[in-house]
Symmetry: C2
Subunit: 227 residues, 2 copies
DNA sequence: ACCTGAACACCGTTCAAGT
DNA sequence: ACCTGAACACCGTTCAAGT
């Protein structure tokens, strides 16, 4: 049996949507031109008729995910005037985060893109709008964006996750060695385990920690706003 | 003339130092096995005798940069007990940042590494030590690390830098279009330009913004500490 | 013990050629 | 207008072979 010509003709739109699908299923390293063409029932070279190069695909994919975020946060409602800005911004950021959690590979791609996509610009524009509702000056809001960093759009990069990996991975010998070399890390770990002996761990850079950091910043910003 | 055998024999150490040199000069995309071998006057295949694979090199490079950070912050002095913790942590983080500014490609590599390098563990261990001096519980210090995120080691990733690129790049037509589509971004930009008409711009995610965000978080943490 | 040449599988991308 | 086959330059990596 021979391969059939694709029923639906290719298009930039179809290519980008397929790219998201491939990355969702196999991670970002699965996203090669040949694998992507496969997903579309075409040859790798055919893609170049619809996109300029792979970088163009990555730009488009970022814009697509950001659009998904915009659609989600677009359904949020609630007051944002005055002191209500904080709850509104918080809601918005946590909703954006939920979208990104469905595309775990996306933050890393976001970070490699230099040019801002239209959808990302829109996201930030509306975020600024909420702050303006709260009474922030543009200068204050500008600082706020920098202070939030990638948290503004729902993720935060950690260089080192204290309890990533199951706690069971660490045997007593390594634990002792670590206690000698890194007493504070060991103490912290012991404390976390002690506080929650039933926890499976491998679960601390998650929702709770994200919200702690977010609230710390939002509270600080509220203080700036209130003068 | 034919190539001479390398005078100095290869070693893991030499390979890693050469890798940092190559990345410093040509960016991370210049760091290929063949280019790295060139730098050492050897063949690409020879590297595999001293390192397991490219990933191993990247792990080693991260550890090397983190060691450079540790050496730098190791020379800092000053009190850290009680309320002095904040200044001590601030000093430490800004010193780490200076090292990373000399290796602009490094943060991106840091973020791709899952396993924590010994040098990074040491950095965090000592950072935790300063917080303990300040009176933080391990649980509080744990939250603090998450709140700081990558800022703890001196950098912060932005998804979109409001005024990256020279301001002169934006002509009036694009500015008008942007004002219609993204009123708040346009307003913010106009305000920044107005506040500092002489500024060349393209210079806002820098030191000042980093310190603003850092201080916001440190102030919030101090409030947590003081209970 | 340490280094290398030839080779492999896999990238992104070009280009002339097919329909 | 849209798609493809063959080919190119470049990756990381293996392995048998050199000294």
């Amino acid at each position: 049996m021979k391969a059939q010509a694709p029923r639906v003709p290719l298009s930039r739109e179809r290519v980008l949507r397929a790219a998201v699908r491939v990355a969702d299923e196999g991670g970002i390293e699965a996203l090669t031109m040949r694998r992507l063409a496969d997903e579309l029932g075409a040859e790798a070279m055919s893609l170049y008729y619809h996109v300029a190069k792979k970088d163009d695909i990555l730009d488009g994919v970022v814009d697509l995910i950001a659009s998904e975020i915009n659609e989600t946060v677009g359904q949020l409602a609630g007051p944002s005037a005055g002191a209500a800005w904080k709850a509104a911004v918080r809601r918005r950021i946590l909703a954006a985060r939920e979208v990104l959690l469905r595309h775990p590979w996306a933050p890393a791609v976001f970070e490699t893109r230099a040019a801002a996509s239209p959808a990302i610009l829109r996201y930030y524009d509306e975020l600024l709008g909420l702050m303006r509702d709260g009474g922030f000056s543009y200068d204050q809001a500008h600082h706020a964006l920098h202070a939030l960093g990638s948290r503004a759009i729902g993720f935060s990069q950690e260089l080192f996750t204290p309890t990533s990996g199951a706690a069971g991975d660490v045997d007593q010998a390594t634990m002792d060695m670590m206690a000698a070399q890194f007493p504070h890390l060991a103490g912290m770990l012991a404390d976390i385990v002690h506080d929650d002996p039933a926890s499976t761990l491998g679960w601390c850079d998650d929702q709770e920690e994200f919200e702690f950091g977010l609230d710390l910043i939002l509270d600080g910003l509220e203080r700036v706003r209130a003068g």
